[in-house]
C-alpha cells in the first residue's frame, strides 16, 4: 500500500514536471510563431525595388532611364553621379516608422538621404537615392535592391 502511494506520488510529480516542460515548450513555440509572423508580414509589406547602374568608360557620360519600375540609374561614367527619388505618402491613421535596407553590389555606391525616420500620418516624404561612381569603379553593371519597410508607430 505504501509502495503504491509512493509510486502514485512519483508518477504525479513526473506528470507535473512533464506538464511544466510542455507548457514552456508551447510558450516558446508560440513566441517563435509570433516573431515569424511579425517578420514575414513586414517583408511582405515592404516596398521592394531593383537597383541598377551601368558604369561606362569615358568622361561625363550620362545615359538616362526614367522608367519607374525600378531604380535604374542608367549609364554613368566614373566621377559622375545621379539622384533618383522615391516618394512616400501616408494616407493611414497612424504614423509610420520607415527603414531602408539596401542589398547587392550597388549598395556600396548608393546612399539614401535619410533612414530610420518617422512619417507622420497624412504627410509625404521623399527619399533621395544618390549614386556616385568612384574613380576606381569597374566598367560593368552593378545590381542590387532596396527594401523600404513601413512599420506602424504604436508608441
Amino acid at each position: 500500500m505504501k509502495n503504491e502511494i509512493t509510486s502514485v506520488y512519483f508518477k504525479g510529480a513526473e506528470l507535473k514536471s512533464a506538464i511544466k516542460r510542455n507548457k514552456a515548450k508551447s510558450i516558446l513555440i508560440a513566441l517563435i510563431v509570433i516573431i515569424a509572423v511579425a517578420v514575414t508580414s513586414q517583408i511582405i509589406n515592404a516596398s521592394k525595388y531593383e537597383m541598377t547602374v551601368n558604369v561606362k568608360d569615358g568622361e561625363n557620360i550620362v545615359g538616362i532611364n526614367t522608367m519607374r519600375d525600378k531604380l535604374d540609374f542608367g549609364d554613368l561614367s566614373r566621377n559622375n553621379g545621379m539622384t533618383r527619388y522615391i516618394s512616400l505618402k501616408s494616407e493611414g491613421g497612424v504614423a509610420t516608422y520607415v527603414a531602408v535596407l539596401q542589398m547587392g553590389e550597388i549598395s556600396d555606391l548608393v546612399k539614401p538621404d535619410k533612414n530610420f525616420f518617422i512619417l507622420p500620418s497624412g504627410e509625404e516624404a521623399r527619399l533621395a537615392f544618390e549614386i556616385n561612381i568612384p574613380p576606381s569603379a569597374a566598367t560593368k553593371k552593378y545590381d542590387g535592391s532596396v527594401w523600404i519597410f513601413r512599420l506602424p508607430k504604436l508608441m
Partner: protein, 246 residues
C-alpha cells in the same frame, strides 16, 4: 512519431504563412503608405564646375544627355521628353558646438546663406549657395537624328550683338523658359549635346566701363565678391511615349 513531427512542422509553417499574409494585409490597410519612384532625376553637376571665374568672363562647358543602354533595350518605350530645370544648390553642412550641450549645423563653405521660406533648395540642408542659375544658359544647336532640331535652348541673359565681343550694342534680357529636349529611338536621336555657358556678371561697385548700360540693372549684377555661386540642374522627364503594339 517522425511523421507526426513532420506534420506538426508543416502545420506550423502553414499557419505562419497564412497568418503573415492576413496580418500584412491588415497592417497595410491601417498604415496605408504608398511608395512610387519618380520620373525626375537629378544629375550630379560636379563635373560641370566652372572653378574660379572673373567678372565679365565668358566660359563654356559641355554636357551630354542620352538614353541609357537599359532604356534602349526596353522594347515598350520610345521617346523621352524632358526639361532642364534650374534650382538652388544646397550647401553641405557639418555640426559645430555652440556651447555646452548645444550643437548647430553650419555650412562647409562660409559664403553660403541660410535658407528662407522663399529661398530653399529642393533637398534643403538649411544653407544654400548664392544662385548662379540666372546667369547660365543651355544651348543645343546640333541636329537630332533624322530631324533637324527637336530641342529648345535656354538662351543667355547676355545678348552679344554684332560685332562679336563687348560692345555698346550688347544688351541683357530676362531669362526665358527652361530648356527642353527630346530623345527618340525611332528617329535615331538618342543623345543630346548641350553647351552650358556662363557670362560672369560683374560685382556691384566694380562694374567695368564696357559692361552695357542695358545690363546695369541689379538682376544682371551680383552683390558679393569672392563668393561661391551654385546651381543644380534637374533633368525632369515630362513624358515617356510607348511603342505602339504590333
Amino acid at each position: 512519431m517522425r511523421l507526426k513531427k513532420i506534420f506538426g512542422f508543416a502545420a506550423v509553417m502553414t499557419m505562419i504563412a497564412i497568418s503573415s499574409a492576413m496580418f500584412a494585409a491588415f497592417e497595410a490597410h491601417i498604415i496605408n503608405v504608398t511608395a512610387h519612384i519618380e520620373n525626375a532625376l537629378s544629375v550630379n553637376t560636379e563635373p560641370v564646375a566652372f572653378g574660379t571665374v572673373f567678372p565679365q568672363e565668358f566660359i563654356e562647358k559641355d554636357f551630354q544627355i542620352s538614353l541609357s543602354d537599359s532604356f534602349m533595350d526596353e522594347p515598350r518605350v520610345d521617346d523621352v521628353k524632358y526639361v532642364i530645370k534650374q534650382k538652388l544648390k544646397a550647401c553641405p553642412v557639418h555640426k559645430e558646438s555652440c556651447g555646452p550641450a548645444c550643437e548647430k549645423l553650419v555650412p562647409d563653405d562660409p559664403t553660403c546663406v541660410e535658407d528662407t521660406e522663399l529661398e530653399t533648395p529642393h533637398n534643403p540642408t538649411g544653407w544654400h549657395y548664392l544662385s548662379l542659375c540666372p546667369f547660365l544658359s543651355k544651348n543645343n544647336e546640333e541636329g537630332d537624328g533624322n530631324l533637324e532640331q527637336n530641342d529648345t535652348s535656354h538662351p543667355s541673359y547676355y545678348i552679344d550683338n554684332p560685332p562679336a565681343g563687348p560692345s555698346e550694342n550688347d544688351s541683357c534680357q530676362d531669362p526665358g523658359p527652361d530648356a527642353t529636349g527630346e530623345l527618340s529611338k525611332d528617329v535615331l536621336d538618342t543623345t543630346d549635346l548641350w553647351t552650358l555657358d556662363l557670362k560672369v556678371p560683374p560685382v556691384e561697385g566694380f562694374v567695368g566701363q564696357d559692361w552695357p548700360e542695358d545690363c546695369i540693372a541689379s538682376a544682371y549684377i551680383v552683390k558679393n565678391n569672392n563668393t561661391t555661386y551654385g546651381c543644380d540642374l534637374w533633368i525632369e522627364v515630362t513624358d515617356i511615349s510607348l511603342r505602339p503594339e504590333t
